[in-house]
């Protein structure tokens, strides 16, 4: 089976970085709902992750399904590699 190109790991890690900031900010905001600066930062990274998701998916296929990502033809959601196989 074809292995993914090196770029796969790079683009994925870009997304992992931004998503991690969003996870940690989410937990912070759950207990600090009035911190406007943190919310601005959250929305900034939300926009950035949208772009990174699009960039990743256009090259390597959907990250989410049930309609949270577009599908190519043929259906490519269930294609390898899965995250633990990389």
């Amino acid at each position: 089976m074809n292995q993914v190109p090196t770029e796969y790991y790079q683009v994925l890690e870009q997304l992992q970085m931004v998503d991690f900031v969003l996870v940690d900010l989410t937990l912070y905001l759950d207990t600090h709902p009035d911190d406007l600066e943190a919310i601005k930062q959250f929305n900034h990274y939300t926009k950035e992750r949208k772009q990174l998701k699009k960039a990743f998916e256009s090259q390597f296929g959907p990250l989410l399904q049930y309609g949270n990502s577009y599908s190519a033809y043929p259906w490519n959601w269930a294609d390898c590699p899965w995250p633990w196989q990389l």
Binding site: L12, L15, Q16, D19, F20, V23, D30, L63, W84
Partner: protein, 189 residues
């Protein structure tokens, strides 16, 4: 509902085939203070917690499933191409007899996961104090695992997971403070 995202939370690398290490890591998969117990504990308790901390329990519980997948990935990689002979040498002969190459929810000694590992008292303070304790125990377990491991890649991921326990414990402590406040008064900075 939950939606699966086809990526790990952390870029996991595993340096070498080492089934003996997988045997230890499984403690955080199906052990008392492991990621499965954590996810199920928080996501179950949230139904009877006050509104202002339900979001936090939902989000931490969800993150624990991401950590469960990270542990599974390390176990999978450490054992993927090991022969039955290698598994036997690593002390995984009895695991192999039952599960073959499969991963299972048990602890490092092979004791299957049980709901007795988690609690729900229906009392917000009792439940949150349990959650704080659970995070500290998970942190201690990660320290033990780092002490047992000589794989720098595995330790890198274990350090990430240990740090997450610290953040979760901090947020649960803040949740207790929120519930101690009079009425619904807002926090002023």
């Amino acid at each position: 509902m939950w939606i699966y995202e086809k990526k790990l939370q952390y870029p996991v690398r595993v340096g070498k085939c080492n089934p003996a290490l997988a045997k230890y890591l499984i403690e955080q998969y199906g052990g008392a203070d492991g990621e499965l117990a954590a996810a199920l504990r928080y996501l179950n308790q949230r139904y009877t917690l006050p509104n202002k901390v339900i979001g936090l329990l939902t989000d931490i519980g969800t993150e624990e499933f991401a950590h469960l997948e990270i542990i599974a990935t390390m176990v999978y990689k450490l054992t993927k191409d090991a022969t039955p002979e290698q598994l036997k040498e690593a002390g995984l002969g009895d695991h192999y007899a039952n599960h073959g190459q499969g991963i299972f929810y048990h602890n490092a000694s092979g004791v299957p996961w049980t709901a007795a590992y988690i609690a729900a008292k229906g009392d917000p303070i009792a439940d949150l104090y349990e959650d704080i304790a659970a995070e500290e125990k998970a942190r201690a377990t990660y320290q033990n695992l780092i002490n047992l491991s000589d794989d720098p890649d595995i330790n890198d991921t274990l350090r990430f997971l240990r740090e997450r326990e610290i953040i979760h414990a901090q947020r649960f402590r803040e949740a207790v403070e929120l519930l101690k406040e009079d009425r619904d008064q807002k926090k002023v900075f």
